[in-house]
């Protein structure tokens, strides 16, 4: 698909999902299906899908060390080496993974290349992708943890504290949460970047746009539900708590927007393990990041090495010595 078709496809797909849940739960009233069955099914798909993907990766051997090295390897004592960019042991790898997982170091190292008049080649640091990515991921994490208030009674102190921090502006009723706005802004930026930068547009597929549109819609329905189209939040919590306690109940009179929101989240959960989003687990299993660059200190034997039949020169000469001498060929042992 070309970029325009990809975007249209993603938008249409999400609109269809919204309409499906709106008609199904809001108009026809299939509350049990959209409020209980589909969320359970989606969660089961998510959990089994994630385990399936991880086990699939774990079954693939990684016989050689293939880390991407971005700094000086450990060498002679007077050569300064980069322990994080080029780790030699597990400790170094742990450091590297920490920076990768929590701070997106590889995106922070992003470099932009420009050809100026002269001709001059310019390399400059490009941090906008890193900023957009980190804002998006941390906003999403905060939102995910905040939602634990719908699945616990009494609500954990950590969640209350996070809510206080997130809503520290104390603007509006209900209190305005920064994370929601940051999430939408970051996704909008990531989407615009993908569509407006020609190189990125060229390599983008529906699989790249769809998750962005889907997560944007989840954020949007959540924000609409919290600030604009109000729902009976006690009824919502009875339902979500019922889901978590395996005693599902349906509370009548909760607005359709709740069902749209939970349906989109269910779609995200079910889609998660089979899409690019699985980098949640994949980031821990990238051999280019999680291997120590120790090929010079440790011998790595290929696990599927086959016992190869060999025939050395000594054996060869042993076999053909007389014939070789007859033919006047030099031999090592007379």
């Amino acid at each position: 698909m070309n970029p325009k078709e990809s975007v249209v496809f993603s938008l249409v797909a999400v609109v269809v999902l919204v309409l499906l849940s709106w008609v199904g739960a809001g108009l026809i009233g299939m509350h049990f299906l959209f409020g209980v069955l589909i969320p359970y099914l989606a969660f089961a798909i998510f959990l089994f899908g994630m385990v399936y993907r991880i086990v699939g990766w774990a079954r693939s051997p990684v016989p050689f060390r293939i880390p991407t090295t971005c700094g000086q390897q450990k060498s002679l004592p007077w050569v300064k080496w980069s322990p994080i960019e080029n780790p030699v042991d597990t400790k170094g790898v742990l450091k590297r993974m920490f920076f990768e997982v929590f701070l997106f170091r590889s995106l922070f190292r992003n470099v932009k290349l420009e050809l100026r008049e002269g001709p001059k080649l310019l390399y400059g640091s490009a941090k906008w992708l890193w900023l957009g990515a980190i804002a998006f991921h941390y906003a999403f994490l905060v939102i995910l943890i905040r939602h634990f208030r719908f699945f616990s009674e009494p609500v954990a102190g950590l969640v209350r504290g996070l809510e206080g921090l997130d809503g520290f502006l104390e603007v509006g009723v209900p209190r305005f949460y920064l994370s929601g706005a940051v999430l939408l802004a970051a996704i909008a930026y990531l989407f615009a970047r993908r569509y407006l930068v020609p190189q990125l547009k060229y390599i983008s597929l529906p699989a790249d746009y769809f998750p962005l549109v889907l997560i944007f819609s989840i954020g949007l329905t959540g924000i609409l539900m919290r600030y604009f189209i109000k729902v009976d939040i006690i009824g919502v919590k009875q339902m979500t708590l019922g889901l978590a306690a395996l005693q599902p109940t349906v509370v009548e009179g909760v607005g359709s927007i709740f069902y749209i929101h939970i349906f989109l989240v269910s779609v995200l959960f079910a889609y998660f393990p089979f899409s690019k989003l699985v980098h949640l687990a994949g980031v821990f299993l990238s051999p280019t990041r999680n291997l120590a660059n120790n090929s010079r200190f440790v011998r790595h034997v290929n696990p599927w090495n086959y016992p190869v039949k060999t025939h050395t020169y000594d054996e060869y000469e042993e076999e053909f010595r007389e014939k070789m001498i007859e033919a006047g060929l030099p031999v090592e042992k007379e």
Partner: protein, 127 residues
């Protein structure tokens, strides 16, 4: 079936499954009972419909504050054109006399801490 680096993969899987099933483990004893706010006995209707109040009372109170404090407008036209004095302590609390038995019931359940009582004086519950 061979799993490479099982000593790292298995704990990783356990952490993932543990994190995502945490809400289920947390509620293993069954769902906490739904709140039962005590409704006033004398009055049958509020300033707006039940559904509206359930979902939007916080917005209404906020609007009342703006209306009274910023516009000095002390008349609120509610359900069926009935007029009310937009006041938390004089109107709401007249019927819903107890904060503990009414407000806190749902607020604690939903895990929200409205800042009404930062300025208003909370009613003495023993009266």
């Amino acid at each position: 079936m061979k799993i490479y680096d099982a000593n790292k993969i298995i704990p990783g899987l356990l952490i993932l499954v543990g994190l995502f099933t945490f809400p289920f483990l947390y509620n293993i004893g069954g769902a906490a009972p739904a709140p039962k706010p005590e409704l006033p006995k004398e009055q049958k209707t509020c300033v707006q419909s039940l559904a509206f109040m359930k979902a939007g009372h916080m917005q209404l109170l906020n609007d009342w504050r703006d209306q009274v404090v910023r516009q000095a407008n002390r008349v609120y036209v509610g359900l069926d054109g009935k007029e009310f004095n937009p006041s938390l302590q004089n109107t709401c609390m007249e019927c819903h006399t107890s904060k503990v038995k009414f407000c806190d019931q749902c607020h604690n359940y939903a895990g929200v801490t409205p800042y009404c009582w930062d300025c208003h004086i909370a009613p003495k519950e023993n009266q």
